[in-house]
């Protein structure tokens, strides 16, 4: 790993001030550190935000669940409050990586990284999340831009993620047996205001599968999905699964999710 200057920021203001186009914020480091070791990324400055107290924590109100950016996957997985409000979200956190990754990895890191196969981005889309940063609030649909790309600026820090509590929801994924990343993951959520189907792993970035949304809006049942045609165009194709297979899995796992709602 190439060397860098390590800073531990006291507060968000200091962290943002230290940031530049040649720096990265460090929370759990579950992607940042291996990426630097593999030579996929290098930075002049690493700005650790783990010790900023206000970035961590869980708040459940009547309509929303708000999770601080540096809250660990294990904390979300074991939160009784979240389990009561959105059980599919604790289940998602429980299925990320392995216990040691869950003990370090954070929700803010997962979202900022926007890995095309990460789980949390699907939750953001399905649960109408608002991503609060140090200078604005962003709708999930606008936040995720493309493969490993978000609309965050280099000095911008995610402070918390606010999820809407749905009437019912379920996240189902076909995990890669080695990494537990989603080959395909489908998060179905029914809100009073409408239905979302967040799909991860299938394309270069998470998306709301509009054809499934339309079918489920007419009839919220897994049989309503049978006649929906999911095109494989634009889907990822790799050693683990072809584009056609992924397209089929989007449908299969959407049905599974609706049945589990």
């Amino acid at each position: 790993m190439k060397t860098f200057n390590y800073h531990s920021a006291k507060d968000v203001k200091e962290a943002s001030k230290l940031a530049s186009s040649n720096s990265a914020f460090l929370a759990g480091g579950m992607t940042t550190i291996p990426s630097m070791k593999l030579g996929l990324a290098s930075y002049k400055d690493i700005i650790d935000i783990k010790r900023i107290k206000k970035l961590s924590g869980i708040k459940v109100s009547g309509k929303t669940v708000t999770i601080g950016a540096t809250t660990k996957h294990s904390e979300v997985a074991s939160s009784k409050d979240i389990k009561k409000a959105i059980p599919s979200l604790t289940a998602l956190a429980e299925g990320i990586g392995d216990p040691q990754v869950r003990n370090r990895g954070t929700i803010g890191g997962s979202i900022a990284n926007n890995d095309p196969a990460a789980d949390y981005p699907a939750a953001c889309i399905a649960l109408d999340a608002t991503i609060h940063t140090n200078n604005r609030s962003i709708d999930a649909e606008k936040f995720f831009r493309g493969m490993f790309e978000t609309c965050l600026k280099s000095t911008e820090i995610i402070e918390s993620i606010e999820f809407s509590i749905p009437q019912k929801s379920s996240y189902q994924k076909l995990p890669n047996p080695a990494s537990r990343y989603a080959i395909v993951g489908v998060y179905v959520a029914q809100h009073k205001t409408g239905i979302n189907v967040g799909v991860t792993g299938a394309k270069s970035s998470v998306y709301n599968e509009k054809d499934l949304v339309a079918a489920l809006t007419k009839n919220f049942s897994s049989s309503a999905i049978d006649n929906v045609k999911i095109s494989s165009s634009g889907m990822n194709s790799d050693i683990h699964a072809s584009a056609e297979y992924r397209a089929n899995m989007v449908k299969a796992f959407a049905k599974k999710a609706v049945d589990a709602c």
Binding site: M1, K2, T3, F4, N5, Y6, S8, L26, G29, M30, I33, P34, M36, K37, L38, I46, D48, K50, S74, G97, D98, P99, Q100, V101, N103, R104, A178, S179, R180
Partner: protein
């Protein structure tokens, strides 16, 4: 360079380290605690699992600089007064190791499991050890060893 002070296996340690030193590097290269193994070095194999402030983590993917003030327990810190930890005894008794490379990580991970779950089922043990890879594929006896330890602890 950064100055850090932490506790490793009950002993206070103060060191000057490079900013990019990992916890596994600090343990092995600076403190000569080579019981913590480095396999993949990118947090998939689990050979480097240690406990930080009571929780199991992969030490290859933690910066030493960020652990200032922490309490670290490695495989060397499990035995007390020359007596093996019940998990180590169980691995020995049930032949829970073949080449032994993954063993320190397996043991540290399994100890953390039993802290949270006293009598885990086979499935719960297998799920928990998801992040520990044994390339001798000796999983069957590893699960048996964890069950044996659970019955003794």
């Amino acid at each position: 360079m950064k100055n850090i002070a932490l506790e490793v296996n009950g002993k206070k340690v103060t060191k000057e380290i490079s900013d990019h030193t990992t916890l596994s590097g600090l343990l092995r290269d600076i403190l000569n605690l080579t019981g913590t193994h480095i396999g993949c070095d990118t947090s998939q194999c689990g050979a480097c699992v240690v406990h930080v402030d009571g929780k199991s983590i992969k030490s290859c993917t933690a910066l030493a600089a960020d652990l200032d003030g922490s309490k670290v327990t490695t495989i060397e810190g499990l035995a007390s007064n020359g007596k093996l930890h019940p998990m180590q005894e169980a691995f020995k008794k049930m032949h829970g190791l073949q080449c032994g490379f993954c063993t320190p990580g397996m043991v540290m991970s399994a100890v953390d499991l039993l802290k949270n779950k006293k009598n885990p089922s086979d499935q719960e043990i297998r799920d928990w050890l998801e992040g520990n890879i044994c390339r001798c594929t000796g999983y069957h006896n590893i699960v048996a060893a964890v069950k044996e330890a659970a019955s003794k602890m």
